[in-house]
Assembly symmetry: C2
DNA sequence: CGTACGTTTGATCTTTCTCAATAATGGTGG
DNA sequence: CCACCATTATTGAGAAAGATCAAACGTACG
C-alpha cells in the first residue's frame, strides 16, 4: 500500500511506536471509514460541552487543546502533530471537557466514533494501542503540570521547544532538530502559562545565549545537548522506548 | 456482602460512579487477589523509573503523585482519596514516569498487575470502567494545567480546595463541604505551584474574606456558592454525571 | 499601498519569591 | 502530666520574575 494512497498510515506509524500491531490490525485501521476534510486555522475538531460523535485524525497541519479560565484567560493544554488521533480523550466520555482546534491549516480524517470503538473492542491489539496512546498523553499532561508549576520562563520555554523537536523528529517531521514552529508567540504564551511579551523576551534570551537560532518561525538548536540541559528535558515521559512486557489489555 | 468485610467496595463504588458494572463484574472485583498493607506517610506505591508490577488501591488515607524538576523543585501532579486505584496510569506502560507516595498513614490493597489486566481484558464492563477512570484522571490533569498556568494564587488555591471538597463529598468522606485537609502547607504549595509562604498568606486571605474557616487542618466553606465563584470552579471536568451513551469499549 | 496581525521594545507595576526569624503544634520519653 | 524536639505555621522586609500598558516596527496579503 503506497503511503500517499493511505491517509491513515501516519496514525498506524504513531500507534506502532508504542504498541505492536499485527498485519490484520493495520489492515483494519486502513479499512476504517473516514471523511477527508481540509480545514483552516481555528477550526474546531471538538468543542467543549459537546458530545463527541467522531474521532479526528490529524493528517497534516497542527492542532491544540485548550481550556478557558473564568477571567477569559486561555490555557493550551496540549499540542498535536500529524499522525495523532485527537479525540481519544473525549471519545469514551459523554461530554467534551475542553476544545480541540486547528493551529494551522491542515487535513483531517474524520472517523465515526462507533467505528473506532468497535475496532478497539474487537481487536485487542488496537484496544491496547489506543490505551497506551491515552496513557502517554496523560504522561505529557503531567509533565506540563511540572513544567508550568515549577520551572522558570527560560527553562519552561526551552522544555516545550525540546518536546516539540523530539515529537516531530519521531514522526519524521523535523529537519535535524530544526523545525517550523507552527504557532504565534501569543499561542506559545498560552501553552506555557506566560505572557506574550515575556515569551518574546525569553525567546530573545535563548537566542542571545546561542541556544536557538530563529528565522521567522523556524527554530534550530545549534547545541542540542545544552538545549536539553537548559530545558531540564528528559524524554522518559514520552515513553518512546518500545514496550517489552505486559501487553495484555 | 458487608462493606467492612469487603475492602474493595470503595473501589467498586468509585468505578460505578462513571461506568456501570454488572453484578458479575462487581463479584469479579471482590474476588481479586490482594494483600493488605498498612503504610506510613511517605511510603511509595510506585517509584519513578521502576517497572510497575502491581496495582495499589487506596483503602484509607491519602496519596499523591509527584514529579521532580532538575533544580530539585517538586510538583505534586495529582491527589488521591480512598477508593481510588492509583496505578492505572502506570500499569500498562513499561516504566513509571513519576512516583506515587502516601500523604498520610493509610491502608493499601495491593493487587498483582496481571490480575487487573486479565480482568480488564476479559470483562468489558471492567475494561470500560478502567478506561473511563483513566480518562477522568487525564481530564483532571488538564484542569490542573489550566489552574496552575492561568489562575492567580487566590483562585488557584480556592480551586484546589473546591476540587478536593467535591471529590471527598462524592466518595462520602466530607462533612457538609468541610473536611480535614490531609497535607501540610508545603505540600499544598507543591500541588499548586506556589511557595509555602505564599500559600500561607493566601490561605489567610481566603480566611479573612470569610471564604474558608480553618481549625488546624480542617477547612469549611461558609458560603459554598461564593467559594466556587472565587475558585473559578466548574466541576464538569470531574465527569461526575452518569454516562448515558457510548459504552462500547 | 494600506490594513491587520504579529513581533519587538521600553517603562513601570504587581505578584510572588526569598531569606530570616518567631510562634505554634504534635509527638516522644520520662 | 510535663519538658523537649522536630515539624509546621506565621510574619516581616526586601528582591525578583513576570505582568501590564503602550507604542513602534515588520510582514503578509488582499
Amino acid at each position: 500500500m503506497h503511503p500517499n494512497r493511505d491517509p491513515l498510515h501516519l496514525l498506524i506509524r504513531k500507534l506502532e511506536l508504542q504498541s505492536p500491531l499485527s498485519e490484520d490490525d493495520r489492515a483494519a485501521i486502513r479499512d476504517l471509514p473516514y471523511t477527508l476534510k481540509s480545514v483552516e486555522p481555528g477550526t474546531y475538531a471538538i468543542r467543549e460541552g459537546d458530545p463527541p460523535t467522531q474521532c479526528a485524525v490529524l493528517l497534516s497541519g497542527f492542532a491544540y487543546r485548550q481550556k478557558l479560565a473564568g477571567d477569559g484567560g486561555r490555557q493550551i493544554v496540549a499540542l498535536h502533530i500529524p499522525g495523532e488521533a485527537m479525540d481519544f480523550q473525549n471519545l469514551f466520555l459523554d461530554v467534551a471537557d475542553h476544545s480541540v482546534q486547528m493551529l494551522t491549516r491542515g487535513e483531517l480524517a474524520v472517523i465515526p466514533r462507533h467505528a473506532i470503538q468497535e475496532l478497539a473492542r474487537s481487536r485487542s491489539g488496537i484496544g491496547h494501542a489506543v490505551l497506551v496512546s491515552l496513557l502517554v498523553e496523560a504522561s505529557i499532561f503531567r509533565e506540563w503540570v511540572l513544567n508550568i508549576g515549577r520551572r522558570d520562563a527560560r527553562t519552561r520555554l526551552a522544555h516545550l521547544l525540546c518536546e516539540f523537536a523530539i515529537r516531530l523528529e519521531t514522526q519524521g517531521l523535523a529537519d535535524d532538530y530544526g523545525y517550523q514552529l507552527p504557532m504565534t508567540q501569543e499561542q506559545l504564551a498560552d501553552a506555557v502559562g506566560l505572557t506574550p511579551v515575556h515569551v518574546n523576551r525569553t525567546l530573545k534570551l535563548l537566542e542571545s545565549e546561542g541556544l536557538i537560532v530563529r528565522d521567522k518561525r523556524h527554530v534550530r538548536f545549534p547545541d542540542w545537548r545544552r538545549m536539553r540541559e537548559i530545558g531540564d528535558f528528559n524524554q522518559r515521559y514520552l515513553h518512546l522506548e518500545p514496550q517489552q512486557a505486559g501487553r495484555v489489555l
